[in-house]
Symmetry: C2
Subunit: 205 residues, 2 copies
């Protein structure tokens, strides 16, 4: 997707916009966005600051590209889930699985998104999109509860937060190890979230 | 506990070691530990750097005090759980509830702990203590699985991570609102973790 622009704004050979973004996101995740200067990025990339400015207008644009990569994935998952057939709880499970897939495929971008604290306009916009996503999740939870499929003894807002707290906690420890990882993880999270850890065949304590 | 030292190393009136620590942790959480200088702390506290050095040897000691506040609480919870009667799954549930209580009571300290990335000796020690805590959790999960009380179709290491991923995700959104919050939250998390979101009385989709 970034190819057209990379051609228009060509920098030093060896970096296109996409590779620049990948390195920038790694550095932001290591040092924090606020703690990273354009000098830090230039040093890590081994190019000059002006070479970076051939590709992007600045740090802000890199952050914008990165968080949109994460958010676009999550919203695509939400749209897919909304269009899925069946009861709300099935659409919610679909969304959880699709979100895990987005986290696994776009891990550095989602990690950065989840650390955004909201000091700049780009960060505020990212937080607003996150809240919009949270509202979609809460809506599905409320609908599933109305349909009698989700336990009624927990506040739906807390339920929605715990559900995506569980999904998002992946970024703290998941590290890619081959293709099987994502599907296995989506399965584990879906089982824990919807059915719990307790062995359904246990005799009880 | 800090009173003895606060008396020994008295700073400017209005700040004892405990209040200094509270403000420092707030600033670390806002700006990141790496992104906070002693100058930033002095500015926020409205005192000179040398007044801070009356209380602590530097930024490192403040971080050490803060993460130990979190870790000591979590290890006390783990010891309490280990000594509790009953099956491993009951001790695990006890640990989850007690850990939620620690998170709620010591929220800024645990938030800081969970963001530690390991660049300095203090951070490396904190990460080592976190790994030790994770091993205690994994041990309980493995024991509960051996006793047949935890579902055998998810890897115990993943199960342990998801369980505390769920607990730790609290720091992302929980904000204290009165005393009832903690117990209600511990209850919600325990229900979701052990029994899942699905309504046990639902007819199915």
């Amino acid at each position: 997707m970034g190819d057209g622009r990379a051609t228009r704004r060509r920098g030093r050979p060896g970096y296109d916009r996409e590779r620049l973004l990948a390195v920038a996101v790694t550095v932001f995740n290591e040092r924090g966005y606020d703690g990273t200067s354009m000098d830090d990025l230039a040093r890590r990339l081994g190019i000059s600051k002006s070479a970076i400015y051939h590709h992007v207008t600045g740090k802000d644009e890199l952050l914008q590209l990165a968080v949109d990569r994460a958010l676009d994935g999550l919203f695509a998952a939400a749209e897919e889930a909304a269009a899925a057939p069946g009861r709300a709880i099935d659409r919610l499970e679909h969304l959880v699985r699709a979100s895990v897939a987005v986290l696994v495929e776009r891990l550095p971008f989602v990690t950065l998104l989840l650390r955004v604290r909201g000091n700049t306009a780009v960060e505020k916009r990212a937080l607003a999109r996150r809240r919009e996503f949270d509202r979609l999740v809460s809506g599905l939870v409320a609908q599933a509860e109305a349909e009698g499929d989700i336990r009624p003894d927990i506040d739906p807002a807390i339920t929605a937060r715990l559900l995506f707290g569980l999904v998002n906690s992946l970024v703290e420890w998941y590290r890619p190890r081959g293709r099987a990882g994502g599907a296995q993880l989506a399965d584990a999270i879906s089982k824990v979230a919807f059915d719990g850890l307790r062995n359904p065949r246990a005799t009880g304590g």
